[in-house]
């Protein structure tokens, strides 16, 4: 303890006069926050470049990307996480059919095309990282979004209803989504001319709701495919 006291004495003595030197103080404070900041950001930057790519994980097609935009717009990540932690209870809950096998928790390689990540920080509703493995039909998703408390939905759900997503005139604009894909290509998502051409066909007459359902049906599908090829 004596050594620690000496250390504190030594430090407070040298730091004591910094408060008369404006520039010196500012520089030292900047260095103090930069040390931790750089250590936190630089090594992981190189490490995440080497995240094992999961060969079956493909970029979102135009319709799925439009759905991902809707997911962000409506703030779905305020209540739904997309991060299954490596606990038996989470793996069992979010992959009940065991499609992903025993290690059905989230891997870094599943998110390589996610700009930004959508892991969320609050799980008020269920996790959606592997939603496609819950084997719900497009129709179920549509009804659930139209009103979570009716039809096949959950009578006591506290989720808001999203009827406007399926308004006939709330169709997705293909040109806009193509521009989104081109922006994503600039940050490294491997979209090709063929993907842009296909966008018009995929998005024809689709509402924001249809796109969101397509996105939900994509979540986890690619990594489950990997399991099939492993077997």
């Amino acid at each position: 303890m004596l050594g620690f006291n000496k250390l504190l004495d030594w430090f407070s003595n040298i730091a004591d006069h910094w408060d008369t030197k404006g520039v010196k103080f500012t520089v030292y404070a900047t260095i103090a926050v930069l040390i931790g900041g750089l250590f936190e950001l630089i090594p992981p930057f190189f490490l995440t470049k080497t995240v094992t790519p999961i060969s079956t994980v493909k970029p979102y097609n135009a319709l799925e990307l439009a759905g991902r935009d809707v997911y962000q717009k409506e703030g779905c990540m305020s209540c739904h996480t997309q991060m299954v932690r490596p606990f038996k209870w989470e793996v069992d809950r979010f992959d009940p059919t065991k499609k992903l096998g025993r290690d059905g928790y989230s891997k870094g390689g599943e998110f390589v095309y996610d700009h930004p990540f959508l892991w969320g920080s609050k799980r008020t509703g269920p996790d959606l990282a592997h939603e496609s493995l819950m084997l719900r039909s497009d129709e179920w998703h549509k009804n659930h979004l139209l009103n979570p408390r009716t039809l096949g939905g959950v009578p006591n759900s506290i989720m808001p209803a999203y009827p406007w997503l399926f308004d006939a005139d709330n169709v997705v604009d293909a040109d806009e989504i193509i521009s989104h894909m081109k922006a994503l290509a600039k940050v490294g998502v491997p979209y090709t001319e063929a993907d842009y051409l296909k966008a018009n066909e995929l998005l024809k007459g689709k509402t924001e709701g249809d796109a969101l359902v397509a996105y939900l049906q994509k979540l986890g599908r690619d990594s489950a495919e990997l399991q099939n090829t492993v077997k």
Binding site: S12, D19, G36, W89, S106, S121
Partner: protein
């Protein structure tokens, strides 16, 4: 040496006080609405603009960047002039800052309900607004630094250290996290992907707590607490040690938001270890505040502002004890993603930031408008409503969060999940979430009383302010 009193610019302080009152009311009203929405989904009214997912980021942005930042700027302009014994370097820059800042918050209040969002927590605003923020921030920083560098007081008092550290770190965090590729005028994508994006986001997100909601408010405490009670701070040496260790350690804490994710293990561990270490400098600040306060302990009964400072410091101590606890892996396994975290955040924001802000405003309004506070009794009621509200809020969220986490992991004898249906858990938590909403309503009521009290005070401006002496042995 001249003893002549410098002419300070108080107009800018008043401007930010009024901003704080407006955005404080707005953010907390929205907070109450979304708390009720989580119990009664009908309150979303099937309307896009007021559905939970769009209002929630508006609540956090208005509270952190509308309310807390307004208080920070009001107090920063007030304290820096007095501590440097010099007027702000350039008044026009101050006005430009006030105007552009409020413009950016108004734009936030328009774009977020429209669903225009980068969808990174506390960094939701789209890129044109981010650019506007950089503009007013640079304007402010130049003005603030120039004032400090040209100061007439040789020593920079501890309050300035904390403000200064915040003002140099926040742009660093903000800019690095907000680097995006615009896809159109109102849509952009983060240049970072997946895992690395998460790492950057929580480096930013946790340090928004550190350098927006903690260090400036410690600066505020170090100025207004001794000023209010007319006693020096308890320990200058403690302030040196806890300042430098706080800013050095805090920046590492981000990865505790990403425990049990694919983030490299050593980084998760570093985040956890530094979060636990953070307990010491945090309590250093808490104790220095607390021991300073005890110098006026017999006045706590009679002065609402002092009560708020005491409660704020206590909640600071509580939430900075809870934070390191939650960053321990085993505790995070239970608490992560549950209501417990919401409770933890609000014990810091409502208790520490909210009460410290209110205390500063109760100190400033009568002095800035030169009139006695309209009603000390209303301020006292505000204090009790706020305290009751926070307690109701955090206790219900503790119970709800721990219940939630436990129900998720409960398995039967054969290892099967007992609460397979998610809705069972949601239904079980409903009463706690209702109590949270009621607690929030009480807190909001306190804020409304405060605003009413200030409006009445401002109406009698220039009627002459008489300062109360809170020193021990001096009669109130």
């Amino acid at each position: 040496m001249t003893t002549e009193k410098p002419q300070y610019d108080d107009f800018i302080v008043k401007g930010f006080i009024i901003s704080a009152l407006i955005w404080g009311l707005a953010s907390m009203l929205i907070g109450v609405i979304i708390a009720f929405q989580l119990v009664y989904p009908q309150l979303n009214f099937e309307l896009p603009w007021i559905s939970f997912g769009r209002l929630r980021p508006l609540h956090t942005n208005a509270a952190i960047f509308g309310f807390a930042l307004s208080v920070i700027f009001a107090t920063a302009y007030h304290t820096v002039q007095r501590l440097c014994r010099i007027r702000m370097w350039n008044d026009k820059l101050s006005i430009a800052h006030l105007a552009l800042y409020n413009l950016s918050i108004v734009l936030a209040a328009i774009t977020l309900p429209l669903g225009l969002s980068q969808s990174k927590e506390y960094a939701e605003l789209e890129w044109p607004i981010d650019l506007l923020i950089v503009v007013w921030y640079v304007i402010f920083l130049v003005n603030y630094m120039a004032t400090i560098f040209k100061r007439k007081e040789e020593q920079m008092y501890v309050a300035i250290w904390f403000y200064l550290a915040s003002f140099i770190t926040v742009p660093l965090l903000f800019i690095v996290n907000n680097i995006v590729i615009p896809a159109s005028f109102l849509k952009s994508y983060s240049v970072y992907a997946g895992l690395f994006d998460a790492n950057i986001q929580w480096w930013y997100g946790h340090n928004a707590v550190a350098f927006v909601l903690t260090t400036p408010f410690l600066g505020l405490m170090y100025y207004y607490l001794p000023k209010h009670i007319k006693q020096p701070i308890y320990s200058h040496r403690l302030s040196i040690i806890h300042f430098w260790s706080l800013i050095f350690i805090y920046i590492w804490a981000g990865p505790h938001h990403l425990l049990y994710t694919p983030l490299p293990d050593w980084l998760q561990t570093a985040g956890m270890v530094f979060s636990i270490m953070l307990w010491m400098p945090s309590w250093g600040g808490m104790l220095n505040g607390f021991l300073t306060l005890t110098q006026a302990k017999d006045k706590i009964k009679v002065d609402a502002t002092l009560k708020m400072m005491l409660a704020a410091v206590t909640f600071y101590g509580m939430s900075t004890f809870e934070g390191p606890l939650l960053s321990i892996r085993a505790v995070s396994a239970l608490g992560h993603d549950t209501d417990w975290i919401i409770g933890h955040v609000h014990s810091g924001t409502l208790g520490w930031v909210g009460f410290m802000s209110a205390a500063a405003l109760y100190y400033l309004v009568p002095r800035m408008w030169n009139a006695n506070l309209y009603s000390e009794r209303l301020a006292n009621i505000h204090f009790w409503l706020g305290t009751l509200g926070i307690l109701l809020y955090i206790i219900s969220m503790w119970v709800s969060g721990i219940t939630e986490g436990t129900m998720w992991r409960t398995v039967g004898e054969n290892g099967e999940l007992i609460y397979k249906d998610w809705i069972e858990i949601v239904e079980y938590l409903k009463p706690y979430r209702l109590f949270r909403a009621i607690g929030g309503t009480l807190y909001l009521t306190g804020i409304i009383l405060m605003v009413y009290n200030f409006i009445k005070t401002i109406q009698s401006k220039d009627s002459g302010f008489v300062e109360q002496d809170l020193r021990i042995g001096v009669r109130a």
